[in-house]
């Protein structure tokens, strides 16, 4: 049964069609990669799925229920949790409080949120900075913190937008290991990344977008060998 269905979603900014009848679905427990050249519409799609942008046409379903047009907080409460490409944290709050916001807002008690935040911080190797304000953390630590906030309460689907961008390899491995473990436990993911080795390693299936359209949706190996995908990335001559 599909967890998330994206059905002919379109979104324009003025004359630019950022999403053009984009359609695909993600089954429960699947880890799907989303790739495409810059400006292909990946982040716009994540913004639509997480309620930060309203689509012009098309529909989105979560567990067969329409969720288009819902506000971000309502979608988060339904289990659609996202990570931003440009990290968004609460700079004047400690790392542990940053995580507790996500837990408490999704309905767990403050005591339980504190317990889970400590566990997550330990799992992500952030123990030494847990009491520091997020504004004092490095870019990589902030990425890990935002990543962790998606998992305070197991999400129905985690939308991860470029989690590995500008991150030290050791932190990248921490995140990749975490994704691997959660996926093995049945967690559903949509993972946007330009990091092909990680996509190949983590994602059995990959969707490729170009100019707002879905141009390939197959196993990751097939997608990366697809001439249409190669052409989108490297130009006609390479294909």
């Amino acid at each position: 049964m599909p967890c998330l269905v994206i059905d002919c979603v379109s979104k324009s900014f003025g004359g630019l069609k950022a999403l053009d009848d984009a359609s695909f679905s993600i089954a429960a427990g699947e880890l799907v990669g989303l790739i495409g050249p810059n400006g292909s519409g990946k982040t716009t799609l994540i913004n639509v799925l997480s309620g930060h942008l309203a689509c012009d046409s098309g529909r989105v379903f979560l567990d067969d229920k329409p969720i288009s047009g819902l506000r971000p907080e309502a979608l988060a409460r339904l289990g659609v949790l996202r990570m931003f490409q440009l990290t968004r944290a609460f700079p004047r709050m400690s790392a542990i409080d940053n995580l507790m916001v996500a837990g408490c807002a999704l309905g767990i008690s403050q005591h339980e949120a504190n317990k889970r935040a400590r566990k997550l911080i330990e799992d992500l190797g952030l123990t030494r900075i847990m009491n520091l304000d997020a504004g004092n953390l490095s870019g990589g630590q902030l990425k890990l913190l935002e990543f962790g906030s998606c998992f305070m309460v197991p999400p129905r689907i985690a939308l991860l937008d470029e989690p590995f961008a500008a991150v030290h390899p050791s932190l990248k491995e921490t995140m990749a290991g975490f994704i691997r473990r959660r996926h093995a436990e049945g967690q559903t993911f949509l993972l946007v990344s330009h990091d092909m080795p990680v996509i190949i390693e983590l994602c059995p299936r990959t969707v490729c977008m170009n100019a707002g359209k879905v141009i390939a949706d197959e196993t990751t190996r097939e997608v990366l060998n697809d001439p249409v995908v190669i052409e989108a990335y490297l130009g006609e001559a390479a294909a």
């Binding site: 988060a76 949790l81 609460f90 400690s94 542990i96 916001v101 030494r128 004092n136």
Partner: protein
């Protein structure tokens, strides 16, 4: 509420106890300052401290810059004043009514303005402040307009007012401290830091902003009502924009977004303004200048400067060390 040793939590606890320390000093002050005039100055400072704490909840902890902090004080004062004037209601009825009416008006306005941000929010609250003041000023048949309204006192002696205001201010501080340590406090600070991130984590942005606006209005209404019964005379001047400016300057100078800032700032600014009284309107210029200086160079106000001088210097090396790892 959870035992938490995070920087935020420790900071809040220190701020809370320092603010209680300041209030404890205020409590013993009448044993040294027996002059009724100066006791009155401290009582009015406590009125401003309540308004400043209420505005700080909104601007300092929720990031919503309202320009109507004095207006809700004026509304509270007029509710109890008018109830007393027309129906002979005592303070026991008037003060709770002031809190409820100010809170309900805050809730109604909050429902509208809390979907706005930045300059739009500031301009809307500024318009509301001026409309309310002009309505009270021009409704001469009802409010006696600029002639003002006599409000019956509650006590005979000044010291009784002194300790009543102090007790309410302590209660407000305790209430704010527990609010900030609750999940609501987490949400308000998250909204202040990044509304979009807070929404994406499931925080009901508009609901919590409206909650803060309503609570801030109700506290201001309470302060205004208490002030009305103490001063025994109220006028639309309570809602002047310059009054809001003074409240904002108290918070900015004391320390925006801190529990101790509004308390320290209110006493410092109001007592100083008494010393500058001979300079007339120029005292406002001094405070405006200080707001610019603090806004530009010392964002956490005097409390931030004190923290930097005593606390942060000691904690800096481990912070830097941990952050760099």
């Amino acid at each position: 509420m959870v035992a938490n040793k995070s920087s935020t939590s420790v900071r809040q606890r220190v701020e809370f106890f320092v603010s209680l320390g300041i209030l404890a000093l205020i409590a013993v002050l009448p044993t040294m300052v027996t002059n009724a005039y100066w006791q009155g100055v401290v009582i009015v400072s406590m009125y401003f401290a309540m308004l400043a704490a209420a505005w700080n909840l909104l601007a300092g902890y929720t990031g919503q810059f309202s320009l109507a902090p004095a207006t809700f004080g004026m509304i509270g004062a007029y509710v109890t004043g008018l109830l007393s004037y027309y129906y002979g209601a005592t303070a026991i009825v008037g003060i709770p009514a002031a809190v409820i009416v100010a809170g309900v008006i805050g809730l109604s306005l909050g429902r509208i303005v809390m979907r706005l941000r930045g300059p739009y929010l500031a301009l809307t609250t500024l318009s509301f402040a001026e409309i309310m003041r002009l309505v009270i000023s021009n409704s001469i048949d009802i409010t006696r307009g600029d002639l003002g309204l006599n409000v019956p006192g509650i006590f005979q002696g000044r010291l009784a007012y002194y300790y009543m205001m102090l007790a309410v201010l302590v209660a407000i501080q305790i209430g704010l401290y527990f609010l900030l340590r609750s999940r609501g406090g987490l949400y308000l600070r998250a909204i202040r830091d990044d509304e979009i991130a807070a929404a994406s984590r499931g925080v009901k942005i508009v609901w919590w902003k409206t909650y803060a606006f309503t609570l801030s209005a109700a506290i201001s209404g309470l302060a205004g009502a208490l002030y009305g019964h103490f001063a025994q005379f109220i006028s639309p001047e309570l809602g002047l924009l310059s009054q809001s400016g003074i409240i904002i300057s108290m918070v900015v100078i004391g320390g925006l977004g801190t529990l101790v800032g509004p308390i320290g700032g209110a006493f410092l600014v109001y007592v100083t303004s008494e010393f500058l009284r001979d300079f007339g309107g120029y005292q406002l210029v001094v405070f405006a200048f200080l707001v610019i200086i603090f806004g530009r160079f010392f964002r956490e106000g005097l409390w931030g400067l004190l923290r930097a001088a005593f606390g942060e210097r000691r904690s800096l090396p481990p912070v830097v060390q941990a952050a760099s790892e």
